[in-house]
Every structure is written in C-alpha cells, then in structure tokens.
C-alpha cells in the first residue's frame, strides 16, 4: 500500500488506495518503525477510514500492530451527530489502562525486601485465568460501581480522595447506563474487582534508573525527584465484565448494522450510528465498563498500599504511595476538537492509544494544568516503561492522542518457542527482576524480544511532539497473570 511522507515521522495513505475510504489514513512512526509494521496495520487503518462520519483521518500510533477491527494503536474520531460507534474500535477490554504510583522509597531500601514484597503482592492481587477478587458485591452494589467508578471505591475505603483527581476524568466516565448491561456481564464480572487478569497485564515495582530523568521540571511536577526512586505501575482493565459487554454488542451490531445501510470492510468493525438506540445503548454499557475498570485499578491500588504498609511497617501515607496518574487506552470518549477551524463534538475511539492532553486542556487535573497530563507508556516486563507528558501539538495533530506501549512484533506462539517461562524467570532474577506469575507459559509469551524497542516508540512520539519524554523506568519486580 502506498505511503506518502507528509513530514518527519508522519506517513499518509491516500483515499485512492482503497475503494470506500472517506478520509486518508495516517501512520505516525519513524521510517524504521514503519518498515517493520505488519501488513495488517495498513489493511486495518484503511478499513477504519471507510467508516461513516470519520473526520480528518484514521490514525495509527508508532506502537501500532495488527489487532482486530482497528489496529492496536488506532485512533479515529467520528462526528457525534452523523458518525458511528464501533466496539472494534475500543476492544473487548474496555478501559484497559495504566496507573502509576510514586513512593518515597529508594531502590536501596526496597531491594532487601523485594522478594517478600513481590510475593505479598502476588498473594493480594489475584492474577491469571479464573481469578476472583476480595470485594463481594450484590447486583445492586455492582451497579453502583458502574455509575461511580473509582469514586465508589474511595467512598467504601478503598482509596484516598486525592486518587480521583489523579485519574483520567476523575475515575468516572459520565453516561454510564447499567440498564444497558446484560445479566451475563453482571454475573461474569461481579467477583473480579481487584484482579489483574493475564496476557500483557501486570503489576510492577519499578525504579528510575541513573540518567532516567529527562525533564526534571515536569518530573518534579509528577512527584519524581531523583534516580533510584521506586514506583509502582499497573496495567489492567474491566476484566470479564467489559469483555462480556464487548461480546454482547459486537454480536448485536453484527446483526443491526445493515438495517442502517452501513457496510464495513471487516466484520469486526461492526458499528451503529452513535445517535441510534443501539449506539446509545452500547455507549451507556461501554461507559459502565470503563467505570468498572477505574474501580478495578483503584481496588488494586488499595491492595498495593496495604501490602507495602505491611512489608515496610509504615503507614502507606508515610511511604508516599500517591497516584501520579491513571490513563485509559481502550475507550470511546465524547470530546470537542477543532476540525477545519470549527469546534466539533466527536466520539474519539482510542484502541491501544492514550490521551495526551497538553497544558491547559480540559480534563487535565489542576495539579498538572501547567505542564500537561502524565502519559504512561507501558513497555515489556524485561525492558521497562516510560512516563511522558501530553502536548498542545497532540491536540492539533492526533485528537490529543499518543502511543500506549511498546507494541508486539511477535506472536505468542513464536515467543513460547524461543524461551521457556521458567528459564526466563531465572534469567530475569539474575538481572535483578523478581517475577511471580500465575502462568509460566504466559511469562514466555511476554518476553521482551516479543515487543518493539520501547525507546524507538518513545523517541518517535517525542520527535512528533505528540508527547514528550519525562522519565524512564526499569522494572525490579513483576506480577504477571
């Protein structure tokens, strides 16, 4: 497929490349990253460009790879009045996202108790297939969670009030409608609050490496003062509850799409007009799942504080265990953006892509308003992650969006052929990373070599100025599903 360079790290696929494209597709990547992107990215991002109501362009971030429906790393904005909403543009794991907490502990203080800490976290934060959390909810109780998100957790003692300000959208997406959620989703997700899941989800103890602070002023605004500082990062979503909502509505949209005269080039892009009854029902259910995900990460935060308090014999507040930020990377959100000089109400789909709102943008917490929102880029469990900051340029260029992670380059089966999970855990222990996992084969699937080089992704988004480098982070402890 023809890609035309537009500027440094921006490549455009014109509408002439595929019948039905309403807008061009744009891939944001260095030449090296672009050359290694799998063919599915080009196929899928141009399919997205064919959907009704899409504005400006269908986008793919530098960590993009083949997904289902949208590519992972996909961003597309549809007019709220005439456009569509598609579960395939959000993913089954609704509001899968990242949260990062700072501590005032140094690596030197944590190392002697690292194994004890990782073991205790592994016990307290259930992970893997079929895991259940400690919070027991009635159906009505779960419906409260769906309306309130992380706020429900704080109200019930599973968090601190200031956690909410440090969560995207205050930890609650407006518009949740539990009436649009199936009984099956309720039953499937009721016992899973406070669980990690499996696959690429994780809970990590990380440290700022020497030379890891790239922007001291912004790092300080985020509460990161010096190399050696220990942080906690977690990556998970709405668990079976969100997965069931994705399944229910994909199935429904697959049937109703034709009644609206919509054809999609990929069945996984099944969609409905945003303003249709079906579109509004999905938006209400999807938003409920997004709130369940915020609550899930909040309950895990509570467990992390309990465990750290116990292991280090201090009150979690004295350990400085404050949430820096919590970002979504699988959502559709109603946002206003400027398109051709006009402020337009859009349904912005981000699938494996993170908001990157710049200074003074709406929804950026007051404490970060001058610098922009924190952007969390999760890397592989071997190589580390990055904390970046949103930019004004992202607001103009990518609907305020950036990458979400390193992005896979290798299938799970390939990764398992290259290394045994037990072997990798031993190798990582030698390198000072303590790993506890519910599934050993799952560890092999998540080996560092299965992912793109995170530095290349971070470098690309930094050069594109859709987010800026602030701090690099290295794992020293990892809980995997």
């Amino acid at each position: 497929m023809k890609t035309i360079p537009v500027s440094e790290c921006v490549w455009e696929i014109p509408t002439s490349e595929k019948p039905g494209m309403r807008v061009p597709a744009r891939i944001y990547a260095s030449e090296a990253l672009l050359s290694r992107m799998d063919e599915g990215v080009f196929e899928q991002v141009t399919n997205v460009a064919c959907l009704p109501g899409i504005v400006r362009a269908a986008l793919c971030m530098p960590d993009g790879h083949w997904g289902y429906g949208f590519p992972i790393g996909g961003v597309a904005a549809f007019r709220a009045d005439t456009g569509v909403i598609s579960p395939g543009g959000i993913g089954f794991d609704i509001n899968c996202g990242m949260r990062i907490l700072k501590t005032n502990l140094s690596e030197a203080e944590v190392r002697p108790r690292l194994t004890e800490l990782v073991d205790a976290l592994f016990e307290s934060v259930p992970s893997g297939v079929g895991s259940r959390g400690f919070v027991r909810l009635s159906t009505d109780g779960l419906r409260e969670v769906l309306r309130e998100g992380a706020g429900w957790c704080v109200r019930h003692g599973y968090g601190w009030p200031e956690d909410l300000e440090a969560t995207e959208g205050g930890g609650c997406m407006p518009g949740a409608d539990p009436e649009q959620v199936s009984d099956r989703a309720i039953t499937r997700g009721r016992d899973q609050l406070g669980t990690l899941g499996s696959g690429n989800h994780y809970l990590e103890i990380q440290v700022v490496p020497p030379g890891g602070i790239h922007d001291p002023q912004v790092a300080k605004a985020f509460g990161i003062e010096q190399p050696g500082q220990v942080l906690v990062m977690l990556h998970c979503g709405s668990r079976g509850f969100g997965h069931q909502i994705g399944t229910d509505y994909l199935r429904k949209f697959d049937q109703v799409m034709r009644s609206y005269g919509i054809t999609a080039r990929d069945r996984e892009l099944a969609c409905a007009p945003f303003r249709s009854p079906e579109g509004q029902a999905y938006f209400g259910a999807m938003t409920a799942a997004a709130n369940a995900a915020f609550a899930n990460r909040q309950v895990i935060t509570h467990r992390v504080r309990e465990v750290c308090g116990r292991v280090f014999g201090k009150d979690p507040r004295d350990l400085g265990l404050e949430v820096i930020y919590d970002v979504c990377h699988n959502t559709a959100k109603l946002e206003h953006h400027t398109v051709e000089g006009e402020s337009v109400h859009l349904v912005v789909h981000r699938k494996g892509a993170t908001r990157s709102f710049g200074p003074n943008a709406p929804d950026v917490p007051a404490r970060y308003r001058e610098v922009g929102q924190p952007v969390i880029i999760g890397g592989s469990m071997e190589t580390g992650s990055a904390l970046m900051v949103g930019t004004a340029h992202a607001m103009k260029e990518t609907f305020g969006s950036t990458a979400h992670g390193a992005g896979r380059t290798m299938s799970r089966a390939q990764a398992k052929r290259r290394v045994w999970g037990e072997t990798l855990i031993e190798q990582m222990a030698v390198r000072g990373i303590v790993v506890r996992a519910a599934s050993k084969s799952g560890v092999a699937e998540e080996a560092g070599f299965a992912y793109k080089n995170l530095d290349e992704v971070v470098d690309a988004v930094h050069r594109l100025d859709i987010s800026r480098r602030v701090v690099s982070l290295t794992p020293i402890g990892s809980i995997k599903g």
Binding site: V129, G130, S198, G199, S439, G442
Partner: protein
C-alpha cells in the same frame, strides 16, 4: 477425529486457531477443546462436574461464536473449564447445538494456567465445509 492448530501471521497479540472436524459435531467439540487448550493445560482439569449447554442461532457461524463465548463466560462466571466435550449440531436454520461437557473448577493448586481468554473475535472468523469435513478459523482475544 478433530484436531486444532495454532496459526501465526494473522494475529500478533491474540491467539488464532484453526480447527478441523470430521463433521459439525466433531468440529464444535474440537473447538471447545482448542479453547480449553488456550486457557489451561487440559490434562490438569479435574473432571468432577457435568454441564449441558443448548444454543439456537440463525446461522452456523454465529452458533460457533456463541458456543465459544458461552465457554469463556463459564470460565469467569463459575470458574469452570472442561476436559471432555460431546456436541450435536443441527444445521438448520435455526441452527441448534446440544452439548455435554465434563470438567471442573479452576483450582489454582492443581490447574496449570495459560492465557485468560477474553472473547471470540470476528477477525478472520470462518466456518466452512472442507474435503475432510468442516474447518473453522477463530481468533481469541487474549
């Protein structure tokens, strides 16, 4: 007798599997075992519970989609995974499935866990007759 094979090149982060069965009954039973194989080591499943599942849909491919979705649902809602499955499919329409499953709860001490299946996707989803019976391709979101 049915068989399944994990496929590369069509899903990077998820799990693509091709399933072949002598007939529709065999294909649906084999698909259930392929899904179990993704989530756990099937040999580690305790066989202490029997379940019966009946489904009706308008088309055969949706019957397969609903069937696998039902097994993923049972994994989360009741922590059940299955080691033995027999299925009977009436092509219809309406298309019907009646299945008997034997398995047990996920026991973290004895069940060897693999990947947590989130959902069945429509990505490259296919169910079609072939020379040896029936063939399906399914990508499971991990």
């Amino acid at each position: 007798m049915g068989r399944h094979e994990f496929v590369e090149g069509i899903a990077v982060a998820d799990c693509a599997v091709e399933i072949v069965g002598d007939d529709l009954d065999d294909l649906f039973a084999t698909a259930a075992m392929a899904l179990a194989d993704i989530m756990v080591d099937p040999s580690s499943i305790r066989q202490v519970t029997e379940r019966r599942v009946e489904l009706t849909t308008s088309s055969l491919d949706l019957l397969l989609f609903d069937w696998l979705s039902e097994l993923i649902y049972l994994k989360d809602a009741e922590q059940l995974v299955f080691a033995r499955v027999s299925a009977h499919v009436i092509p219809g329409p309406p298309c019907r499935l009646a299945a008997r499953l034997v398995g047990g709860p996920i026991d973290r001490a004895t069940t060897v866990l693999r990947a947590d299946a989130k959902a069945v996707t429509f990505h490259r989803f296919a169910l079609e007759p072939c020379d040896h019976g029936w063939r399906a391709r399914v990508v499971i979101d991990i």
